[in-house]
Symmetry: D3
Subunit: 330 residues, 6 copies
């Protein structure tokens, strides 16, 4: 089983040897400035990814018989080149089926997926609007969709870019929406929560996560909003007597959840539930990005009272860890 992870390697001194199982995301033949051929690799597991180099591709201990998507067993050591960590690979072979657990090979949520799934189902159970309840029960009860919903990342990069990320993001939003809803009596709580559960469901088709996280061509041409609406419309059409006005509102929630035309929502939120959905989605994504950034600083050993670097997901602004900075000032 896997006991060395990408994230551990940053702490290794240069030259220390290790064996490990990794997913091969890229393999490319190159040559140095002085014409020496070598292999350039990208190796990944659930804790991250790292470049690797095979300096002697002809070595018999390096199998030729591997491809992008294979899990490989690697023996190598760590080197640093201009401050970037690299893996120097000395032996490499394809791993056999029983040697590894696929779940270790792609970044995955730190939470228990089944628990998150039960929490989500608990929310559905609590619905009093029967049509929305039936819609969600039917849709999430579809085995293929339910399975994909539990596996899908919420994004290719940025926030929640890991297996189970979609589910983790949705459950976090459900908790937040459940807290916000009672503050505004005009809100239709079940419609809001249904919108939370359905808003990103098209991501199970927009993204592929077999080998790394990629957009499908269909996803690039249509986007998860359109794809999600299609899935939800089909389910509503299959239900006898789903109320047509409720159908329109559910589609509107998905359609408008990015909040602005230039963010890919062709309609602005025009009902209170759609407005709140857009806010909590945006807030939660940003708070996760901030928390992730602070974690990264801690991992990288920065002083508590420094600003972070410029954060892409927050318009290139720098952030400050409130508590750590206040501590540092004492």
């Amino acid at each position: 089983m896997k006991d060395i992870y990408i994230a551990d390697l940053a702490g290794f001194e240069e030259g220390r040897h290790f064996d490990g199982y990794f997913l091969l995301l890229m393999k490319q033949a190159r040559s140095t400035k002085t014409n020496k051929p070598y292999l350039n690799l990208v190796l990944a597991d659930k804790t991250g990814q790292l470049e690797g180099r095979v300096w002697d591709p002809g070595d018999a201990r390096i199998t030729k018989d591997v491809e992008r998507g294979d899990v490989v067993k690697v023996r190598g050591s760590i080197s640093r080149f201009d401050d970037r960590l690299q893996m120097k690979v000395e032996q490499m072979r394809r791993a056999a089926a029983g040697e590894f657990d696929k779940a270790d090979m792609l970044p995955a949520t730190a939470y228990d997926v089944e628990e998150l799934w039960r929490e989500l189902q608990g929310f559905v159970e609590s619905f009093t609007e029967p049509n929305l309840k039936q819609l969600l029960t039917t849709l999430l009860g579809d085995p293929a969709i339910g399975q994909a919903y539990r596996e899908a990342p919420a994004a290719r990069q940025l926030h929640h870019a890991w297996l189970g990320g979609l589910l983790e993001h949705v459950v976090s939003l459900l908790r937040l929406a459940e807290r916000v809803a009672p503050n505004y009596p005009i809100l239709h709580r079940d419609l809001l929560l249904a919108g939370v559960i359905l808003h990103d469901i098209g991501k199970v088709r927009e993204l592929a996560w077999d080998v790394g996280f990629e957009y499908t061509i269909e996803g690039t041409l249509l986007g998860h909003i359109q794809m999600g609406i299609e899935m939800v419309e089909k389910t509503m059409d299959a239900l006898p007597d789903f109320p047509p006005r409720l159908r329109t509102l559910v589609v509107h929630m998905i359609l408008s959840h990015h909040g602005k035309l230039e963010f890919g929502s062709p309609k602005l939120p025009m009902i209170p539930e759609a407005l709140v959905l857009n806010f909590v989605d945006d807030l939660d994504a940003k708070m996760q990005a901030i928390a992730g950034e602070f974690d990264k600083c801690k991992r990288e050993g920065r002083a508590a009272d420094e600003l972070t670097g410029k954060v892409w997901a927050l318009d290139q602004r720098q952030l400050l860890n409130t508590r750590a900075w206040l501590e540092g000032g004492k």
Copy 2:
């Protein structure tokens, strides 16, 4: 039958009496500054609309029994108030069914709808791609959709805002696309023409044209792009073996035809046919707006070598009638 039209009234001298049939678009009780009550009306027919006033609402010759949407017979005369034309209504009653032709009551295309329809069908006949041909034959062959497609305006105001406007706009685009396609060998001609025919089909649900032209609430919440995609997807799903990749491209054509996120297309055109569709749609709309503006100047008796007013549909720019101005310079 109708022999007096709104458009004729501009030429009448003040005070001349007339009888006519008009569609009642609005009726509202008001009172003057000196507290005299009166009725404010908006009356329409296929040539335009006009405000009307009933200065003595208690007069027995004015029926109380009419509502927005009724066709009424009116006796009145023309007056001008601060340069705006108005109808002074002296008698008004609801018209009986046989007294008028409904087609006279809303603005309608100047072309023969059946001829346009045959031209459109001729284009479909000419397709060599069998799946697209079947899709269009099925969809337009649906009696309700076919009927709505022939009636719908292309917009509430702006360009082609008249009965049959959608069909007229689409046929003009088909002619243009058929001319442009051979210039670029990479274009899939049938896919381009299918995109032209389908791009605005959602307008048959986004708009209502019973009494004036209005957006439906569903249309305001979802938009014609989303509504059109739903119609087309349902038809494709009902066809056995419609190729999935072709399905994706057809949906992408509709989805991206506004050309920019801020114009309500959540995806940019990413195939050549979608790019060309966006261009010809935009060009044709602008050329119709220009031609309409020049006609309006002529009707209003402006000198040939003046600029038009600022045109809303063309970013508030003024336009100059090339030929007329060159003529004027001789």
Copy 3:
């Protein structure tokens, strides 16, 4: 005491007489097209404002001795001019001090101000960070500031434009922030709540609410962000040993709460508490605007399943009342 309110007048039939006390917001001598002089007035009370006309300014029953800002007793009747309601004033005199309650003369919160104030103080009581607690206790304990905080509107127009509006808005935000905070462990709850209480405190100087709601000249030149920071900085400077880093964060919260440079915050939120403050402030303002719009529709007797007009505070979008529309569809 006052028993006729502006809001009641809309329901009166034309010509019905009434007596009432109103605040005179504007008085202007004009003449009609035919050179007849008249007075144009704007009269207000806590339920709204209305134009009034004195058609015979020379009438002895119309005192000359009133000015903007006076409360007047008026006898008059209702008329409508081109659909706009007007008051026809037949008698007018200055009201004596004991005749009216000033609280009736400007729009005011529907909530009990003292109860809101106690709720706010309860939040301050609950703080565990001693410096923030002392800061708020000191600042709100200043009699002039405490009084102004309870009276000030939150805006000149738009959201919460009524006496007590600032307090009402802040308490609503406190409740929301208290709900959101536990969802994100990185949040410093007391700093967030302190930011909520202080973010708009400059409005007690930016706005004047003696006679209607107006910006002061100082408020126009400096803005409530700058004015609020000055107030808070002075208080912190007067406290012995207020920690300098905490001081910086408090100022940053106020400075950045509009969330974007183009909205008047010269710095983006750079700590999690500032980000959340910006979100809840924006969300609450929009939800209040929506609720207000739905109330207005109800008051104006619109059908439950219509869209509202275009709402200025929500980028000119139209809104739909979810529950009412769903009801209407049954």
Copy 4:
């Protein structure tokens, strides 16, 4: 004569030797990290350009006597450095005049320039407006201008960046405009075609194409719109009796052809011909960019059903080759 082209080298295995003639676009002395001096070169011919390295600049077989702009004979081999192709140069001397054809040294249109020129002249022949016909005959009949018009690239990079590119672009536009014009009776066909021929004529002065393609300083300060207008105005002024209004319209066509102020046209198109010119120019440029991108993918051996990379000339969007993708789905 030249038999090895830059485009061929990508297919060579590393280390294979070749001799070839290339245009020297850049020559620079550098040294490696370990202080070894070397020469960095950019070598070009009509199929592209490539970096070269001289690792032993003191070698007697490397002439010192060459400069930017010279054609050189090179003996070398191919190497790859971090995935980028490079030429390792072992011998280099200046080529003698008779050894090469200058036309091989810069990218040039794939079409027969004389045929394109005759096609353009055929369009001019077809004009019925005598003044425009004379203007074009005179201007293009000027030997210096005619020669430059046939040679000039249409841009420094982006679309049609090759010798003859201006002419190729204009002829493609003429064909398109000739197809579009009959669809809109308000169009003055000869004015539209004259605009097509003249719109980019200033590029013969804005760009220099002796050694690579560069902007002249005058071109950078004034731009091709201004420079073209000057050329055309001078020609019109030299013609007796060129109608002043027609003169204004011709200048307006050139001035406005970029369609927006932010694209460098100080006036928006205000006549129908100018509007159509802007559309066809934009459409043709984009269609050429797409076709070029698909060719590049084919050359690079990408799978038919992949998206292209992000295309700079199309707002960084990715594109999909319709036919290839549909084929791939069968």
Copy 5:
């Protein structure tokens, strides 16, 4: 001679009679709500313009024989309608040539035009660069251009919209540029001043000022930048040996003086003199707008310590008169 001016009429009590000479800018037949015909006029002189009404167009004392552009003698009185001043016209006839001075009829600079002209020529005299000196001497020495330069307004509305406004604006800029130039040794003082004198010269063709101030059609299609460049290029071409690089720089100064593409300059300023020209032009226009706004407040009798209304030429901001406000605070 003229002794009653438009600006005086605001101070007249209603009903007072007067006789005066005015320029007729508009004449239009209308009728009232109750069908009474009347004439609507716009009358102007150098101090402003005013609407007029002829309530009895059939009256023999009202000549039918006048048209837009005529100077008329009017007998009438002042009335106010909804706060807008109007002239009630009782008699009107065309004025004879000797009765009035045309200079009284359009707003004109308050300065002595000949003195301004001498000051401008003094600047030209001071040039040490002989080519620029000759260019300006030749161009301004052209009688038609020199005359137009002295008469032209600098704009249709906004800043310097009066006869002589162009000259007044240019002389103010020359003084400012002469002050700024010595602060920056890299500046070519004569080139900067030449740019100041030439930057708006195209306005003599873009605008017409016979009857009110209007854009010509040519001006609307081409703009004063393009028109000015054409005038200056022709003059430079007629001078033997005008240095070509200097020619390019002069054209660049005119071309870039609006400073941004979206303001109609297709090139940004790329030499220091062009940058300074853009700054002083913008600063002077804004300072004149501010001074004009303060004058207007004074004329309208506003309190010294009020903000102005929102000023269109300054992005709708309000302004405060520093000195007056400080005075008011004492």
Copy 6:
């Protein structure tokens, strides 16, 4: 004392040895691609900064005992790597206090600071408004502030990024403002000059210049506008009887001096002095950037008649040196 400067090193041939004193801005342990450890340094003095490499970090002649911020004595030679200059460090030790002058270690103004300071004080002396004079005398008379004002750079990079840069920038602005003020009689000269002196005073806290130039965390969170206002407000509050309206105007000058919300000024300039301050500040910064760019071209030996590279501080535009280019054309 220091006799070798960073700026001199560019002229050294490779391999020549030198000894020098430099400020250590960065020190980082790295290793090469082949795992050889080395030290990467950044060394600076008042003429610039340069990367350095220690290829043998274990060498006894390289002290381990230095940190960021130390001044070190270095023996080394020059090398070039891919066109970038580097210092090869062979010996390095911490410099003793008496060995160097700290003023040599950071870039500093080329002017005499004490002379600039006297010139600034001369401007203050010339004030006739007593309150402003006292404000400035008090504030600049504070020893800590006066010292910091003389030392502070005006920016971290861009314009005036050197010790004394703030003072140099302010004095240049004072001269310019003193020239511009008399051209506009509405200007309050002392208020304008006070604004010039105070507008950037917050930079003494926003920036730190002990070791290189950096933003402080407080500076990043609050910005120099806010920090400057706080300093000035405290000083005004400490003066008895500083007029409140003048106080508001002074704060407004600082608050609005960036001229646009998106540049970080939450209010637009609303008094003439604030408008002029924004203009002269912007103009002076741009002219310094241009002059600096031309100097750089000269230092880099570019031909006089070339365009510069794209200049970041001027919206990426290229610039042309007017005089040099005109010379080159002769």
